[in-house]
């Protein structure tokens, strides 16, 4: 190697050493210090807490523009996750309907959509844009929401037992009957369909015996076609207490699913909608029937709540 090229090699080595020293100093010893940061740079947990704080402030001041300003620049997914978690936590904690309604309003404004929100966003006189409930087969005079009660964690007046109203069989339902067109001047009076909540009853009950699981009560609310109905408020009541859940908060378990923990020895009642209308009474977790060799196991219950058939449907079924 000639003397000149050796000098260049030494120069390059010096350059590398200098570069390394420079970077060590600027990145490790004396890095740029940010002191005027903004919420989007916060660590994920702090960022989500920021969103929660904004949501709670919105509950207090009701200023949507203010809330939007505080959430500006944040990742939409962060906002959605935090607001959704807060709604679910507050719903499970039995917070007031006003608080939940405010949170749901903010969530909707931020583009978050969860089944639990529908309960608070849409009062019983209106329907959500994509209600998960199938339309009734019986003609109705006015659109009647079949679920989605206004949530109210406080005990309220019991809902009276509904009286099913006979409904006309839809024309052309039987091939043996020639439909007679009704005169245009006297159309058959439309009969209102009782809402789904008022028609729910115990449609099935099954004991679940799975080792390693805490005793619990699974509730599935279904519509006429057996599809899960989300956004239904389910109450578990026992002597000296009550707990509430909303169906659909665990989408992986199905739209109509909700569950509660249960204690052996306690007797529970299960109701839907407004507190005070038990559909299932004297519900207790019991030991599973097992072989003597197996360890004793307390089973859980899977309760299916479905609508009672309307009288018209019963007549139609019995007549066919």
């Amino acid at each position: 190697m000639s003397g000149l090229s050796r000098h260049y090699v030494v120069g390059v080595i010096g350059l590398a050493i200098g570069l390394a020293l420079g970077l060590l100093y600027t990145w490790v010893i004396d890095p740029v210090e940010l002191v005027n940061t903004y919420p989007a740079l916060l660590r994920t947990d702090y960022r989500q807490d920021w969103v929660r704080l904004v949501a709670l402030s919105y509950v207090a001041n009701g200023d949507l523009e203010w809330a939007r300003g505080r959430l500006q620049g944040l990742d939409q997914e962060d906002v959605a996750t935090a607001v959704q978690a807060q709604i679910e936590e507050y719903a499970a904690g039995g917070r007031s309907a006003d608080t939940l309604r405010s949170l749901a309003t903010l969530a909707e404004a931020m583009g978050v959509h969860t089944p639990a929100m529908w309960v608070y966003l849409y009062p019983p006189t209106s329907s959500p844009p994509a209600a998960p409930i199938a339309p009734s087969r019986t003609p109705t005079s006015t659109p009647t929401p079949t679920s989605l009660p206004l949530a109210s964690p406080e005990p309220t007046v019991p809902v009276p037992e509904p009286t099913p109203i006979p409904t006309p069989t839809p024309l052309g339902s039987s091939p043996l009957v020639t439909p007679t067109p009704a005169p245009m001047s006297t159309p058959p009076p439309p009969t209102p369909t009782p809402p789904l909540l008022a028609r729910l009853h115990l449609a099935g009950q099954e004991q679940i015996c799975e080792p390693g699981q805490r005793p619990h009560l699974e509730v599935v609310v279904t519509d006429e076609r057996g599809r899960g109905v989300s956004g239904v408020e389910v109450w578990l009541m026992w002597s000296g207490g009550a707990d509430r859940a909303v169906t659909g908060l665990k989408p992986q378990r199905g739209a109509g699913y909700a569950d509660f923990n249960a204690e052996p020895g306690a007797s529970y009642e299960l109701g839907v909608g407004e507190l005070g209308m038990p559909l299932v009474t004297d519900l207790q977790v019991r030991p599973c029937v097992q072989d003597e060799a197996e360890e004793p196991l307390v089973g859980s219950w899977r309760i299916v709540l479905g609508p009672r058939p309307l009288e018209g449907e019963l007549e139609g079924e019995s007549g066919s």
């Binding site: 003397g3 050796r6 000098h7 260049y8 030494v10 120069g11 390059v12 080595i13 010096g14 350059l15 590398a16 050493i17 200098g18 570069l19 390394a20 020293l21 420079g22 970077l23 060590l24 100093y25 600027t26 990145w27 890095p31 740029v32 940010l34 002191v35 005027n36 940061t37 903004y38 919420p39 740079l41 916060l42 660590r43 994920t44 702090y46 807490d49 920021w50 929660r52 704080l53 904004v54 709670l56 402030s57 509950v59 207090a60 001041n61 505080r70 608080t99």
Partner: protein, 129 residues
């Protein structure tokens, strides 16, 4: 010997020159071109207006959730030693600036719960001592 003496300065020149240029490059890259990126910051390095928002929101959340431990934990991110200090400071600044009475009252209720009060803001507490 003469040859070694003649070569030594040239070798040193190349080495020192390289180190100096490398150092300059390193400083330029590390401070301007490619500085340390802060993405996981804590609330204590937020800009002052965001810090003020944060404190006001913590006070509001305390009013709704009534969870003093959580409020204290949140404020400790701003001042681990005296969590109530930034709150009373903000309340006094809001009073001087003619800020929202509701915000001042919330901040002072939180400060009172944390055991810190200043004479300036006591009237905003209403019925509380």
């Amino acid at each position: 010997m003469d040859e070694q003496v003649r070569r030594f300065p040239k070798w040193t020149t190349f080495c020192v020159g390289g180190v100096v240029i490398g150092l300059a490059l390193g400083l330029a890259v590390g401070w301007w071109l490619w500085p340390v990126q802060y993405t996981n910051t804590a609330p204590d390095v937020l800009r002052q207006d965001y810090r003020d928002d944060y404190m006001t929101m913590v006070a509001t959340a305390y009013e709704i959730e009534n969870d003093l431990q959580l409020a204290r934990a949140r404020l400790e991110l701003l001042d681990p030693d005296v969590p109530s200090a930034p709150v009373t400071d903000l309340a006094e600044r809001l009073i001087e600036a003619g800020g929202s009475a509701a915000d001042i009252a919330r901040l002072q209720r939180l400060a009172w719960a944390l055991g810190a009060l200043t004479p300036t803001v006591t009237p905003y507490l209403g019925d509380q001592p």
